[in-house]
Subunit: 189 residues, 2 copies
DNA sequence: GTCTATAGGTGGATAGAC
DNA sequence: GTCTATCCACCTATAGAC
């Protein structure tokens, strides 16, 4: 097993920094110190911070979608899929991180255009998957809800992101779990 | 009516900046430019940025609690109180702002200790008021929910903050309204 | 209270040697 | 690919005149 290449290691460290401190809350100096290289080396891999940011979101979405495919492969029950979906958020929070794109949503006003677009692309993909699960659950009567699946998907994402953000400020996992459980329970038939 | 004093005008401008760009997304130079004074003048009123941040949260909480008292004075119906509570968020969002403390929750990892404490104080006060409304609604059977009022209050705050944050990224008020309506409807008896 | 001037630090970014 | 050295813009903050 080769060591992960430098670009990937940079992304790993930058990802954690954005998730804990925000895109405006870290600098190349932070990454350089953590990797024991100079700032100049980092600019070889990612010329501008905006490049780093965009690549960060793209990789995050790719990994997230892979996790969703993993859920699809592991279970066919709609309620169980939603539980595992919420469990992904829970794992991120347990690591004291915020969702990358939830964090960027707060900083939206200061982001380069490309990052704004990539961020929305992430939420769109997210909600498309949820709409599929919700439609399936409604069809086989394992889920019940009023309104469109798209509206419910938006509510779910918003509720989980918001609960995550606040629970992190209280360093209280239980707070997140209780909200997640309540939210999923509201879809029980 | 005297013009608002300088400290208040600084707070007004800083408040909007934090709500749109985050605490790490603006500088004294931004305020100075907007007020047509020098940065040095600002330091006379708020020696350090951390002082400004803390006073910002304290004033925000005071104003928010006053708005909640206004709701209590205007109506005695629990469901109507919740609708007006959500309408406050909606008004903030319509102005292209995020909730001040929702924004700070994202930046939590980088905030001075005093600001962290003040921020949680805001959410605590917020939830205390909601718990009162929820208890009243349960008692007079105008609201129905399972679990404790405290859990529901936390879910409400999280759902509204999260929906707000994401809707702002899409510049889509409808997105927020639909989530808020759904969330309140889930408490109907 | 507000100004000019400035200190001392950090930000992102580049040139050019190795 | 990584380094040293450096640029310049910007940051928070202070001293001292007015």
């Amino acid at each position: 097993m080769a060591a992960p290449d430098t670009s990937q290691r940079i992304l790993d460290i930058a990802e954690r920094l954005v998730q804990t401190r925000g895109f405006n809350g870290f600098s190349y100096a932070d990454i350089a110190q953590s990797m024991k290289v100079t700032k100049a080396s980092l600019h070889y891999h990612f010329p501008a911070k905006a490049d780093l940011g965009a690549r960060l979101i793209q990789r995050y979405e790719r990994n997230f979608l892979a996790a969703l495919q993993g859920i699809d492969a592991a279970t066919s029950s709609a309620p169980e899929k939603l539980r595992r979906y919420a469990a992904i958020y829970e794992d991120v929070l347990r690591d004291n991180r915020m969702c990358l794109c939830g964090m960027l949503a707060a900083e939206f006003g200061t982001l380069p255009k490309a990052m704004k677009d990539d961020m929305r692309h992430y939420f769109d993909a997210n909600e498309r998957w949820l709409v599929g699960v919700l439609a399936q659950g409604k069809k086989d009567k394992t889920l019940r809800f009023s309104g469109s699946a798209a509206e419910v998907a938006q509510s779910l994402v918003g509720a989980l992101e918001g609960a995550m953000m606040i629970a992190r400020s209280y360093a209280d996992m239980g707070r997140f779990k209780s909200v997640a459980d309540r939210t999923l329970a509201s879809l029980a038939p």
